[in-house]
């Protein structure tokens, strides 16, 4: 049980616990705060996966920007505790539960099949990074620079399309607020 494994078990149980609390709590303010905690523990999991840059970006983008918007909007709505938080339809509720269970089974099965599939094709992959470090199969060292080099050579087109998308989103959001009944509608 190396230090990495203990970290993984702590962080993954935290993220699953807070993720479940996001869905189960009835008052939305608490669920958004649990989501912040779940995002931070997922950022910790990225750290144990030897991807510190992705963890930093996750903290800046998700925990620092997106969820601040969620908490701000929820405070503006000031919703009190919802009584019927879950859909009340008995039959439709049951149908949804069965659907969700099936989905969970499919995903878990796919996960196991894909790993053994990958094992079969490529050569033996050490199942643990710490073990990998000893056997010389060291993961890419300073991977932050390799990520950006790859980003600007192989994925340049996707990068430019994302710039376009990030242009469309604010224009759409402002147009939404301009529409009749919107917050900034021209009256």
């Amino acid at each position: 049980m190396s230090e990495l494994d203990i970290l993984f078990y702590i962080l993954s149980s935290m993220s699953v616990l807070f993720g479940a609390l996001v869905v189960l709590t009835s008052s939305p303010i608490y669920s958004s705060l649990y989501l912040v905690m779940s995002m931070l523990s997922v950022a910790g999991i990225f750290m144990t996966l030897n991807a510190p840059f992705i963890a930093g970006i996750q903290i800046i983008v998700y925990a620092g920007a997106v969820l601040v918007l969620f908490v701000m909007v929820l405070m503006l709505f000031d919703l009190k505790r919802e009584t019927k938080a879950f859909t009340k339809g008995r039959f439709s509720g049951f149908l949804k539960l069965v659907g969700a269970g099936l989905l969970c089974g499919f995903i878990a099965g796919a996960a196991y099949e894909s790993v053994s599939l990958i094992m079969a094709t490529s050569e033996e992959i050490p199942t643990n990074i710490a073990a990998a470090a000893e056997t010389g199969f060291s993961p890419t060292t300073n991977s932050i620079k390799e990520i950006s080099k790859l980003l600007f050579t192989k994925y340049l087109f996707a990068f430019e399309v994302l710039g376009l998308l990030l242009l469309v989103v604010p224009i759409g959001a402002v147009a939404l607020s301009r529409v009749a009944g919107g917050t900034h509608a021209k009256h």
Partner: protein, 403 residues
Amino acid sequence: MGSDVFEISVNFVKMVAIFLLMVNLVPMLVWVERRGSAFIQNRFGPNRVGPLGLIQLAADAIKFLFKEEFIPPKGNKALFLIAPIIALIPGAIAFGSIPLSVPIEISAFEMFGSQWGPYVFPFQSFEIGIGIVFVLGVSSLGAYSMLLAGFGSANKYSLYGALRASAQMISYELAMGLAIVGILIVYGTFDFAEMIAAQQGPLSIPLFEADHVVNKILGILPNWGVFYQPVGFILLFVSVFAETNRLPFDLPEAESELVAGYHTEYGGIKMNMFYIGEYGHMMVASALIAVFYFGGYSLGTTLDTILVEGTIVPNMSALFASLLNLFGSGWEQSTNLINVVRAFVFHGIFMAKILLFLWIFVWVRWTLPRFRYDQLMDLGWKTMLPWALANTIITAFLMLFLR
């Protein structure tokens, strides 16, 4: 945290020491603020309790502990209590990731009958490869403590103040991020220690050869970042004032406008924790400015050599050695002591720079008037952001040729 017991314990003690350094610096800063404002306004400031009012710090701290515990009845009790604790965490973690001095190399030594191997202790709470990205991400978490404080206390003025404060904080984070992009172009690394190492040596433009007259004149100045990124420095300096809600950007907490904003309903030690959070952010901000633009814990090569090879470190380590000789013998030749003393000398330099910038925070607060809220937001979106973009593009364009 370390391989054997000695390393883990030293790392833990170092982490607690750096956090307590930050927490204990806060009453000292409050004292500097009160005496500084008195000095600026031509009056005395606290000087009754102890010499120059220094015991005033302890008196304030203890007084805060004995204040009554007040929780607004209609407010959300849990969020009201969590908010001050969340205000502490981002400042402490960001301050812990900044290297305060050169790492200390301890060669193998023998103690308590067993041999302890060589160690290298980085002079910071934890070493993190992605310095800047981590500090930026953690400091953007500060907005949550404001939002929760505003929402927890059922007072609509404090909710309004919390929304305004966090809207101001996030809109100045953009200009801060772009100023840091300018720094990244020049240094090409996220790690603080590599940045400080890149700022060694005399200032010189690679376009001309070394002994050219231009390089001779510039050679006097140390190779600091402020000469490469002057506009970036101004941008970061201004946006740091807005990040920490300091004057002239502290409208959300202004007494006259918004009844002291999101911490209206707080009193006693919880109010004090918001101050610790705010001053912690100020310390992180001044440490960042010192690392990016003013060479962090180094003073440029000429002065460093005087410090290390020259007179200061050898004399001080001789002084310490004579003191330590009272306990054991043979401390003179031990390189460990010299390494430790050198680390603390460089730490002194870095703290001097941090205190200089903290004094500038206090100085600006008591001289400049306060912005109106729409002026404040217009400055953030309509002037700072375009300037930051222009700075990034021009830096990139010049780097194409100066490289």
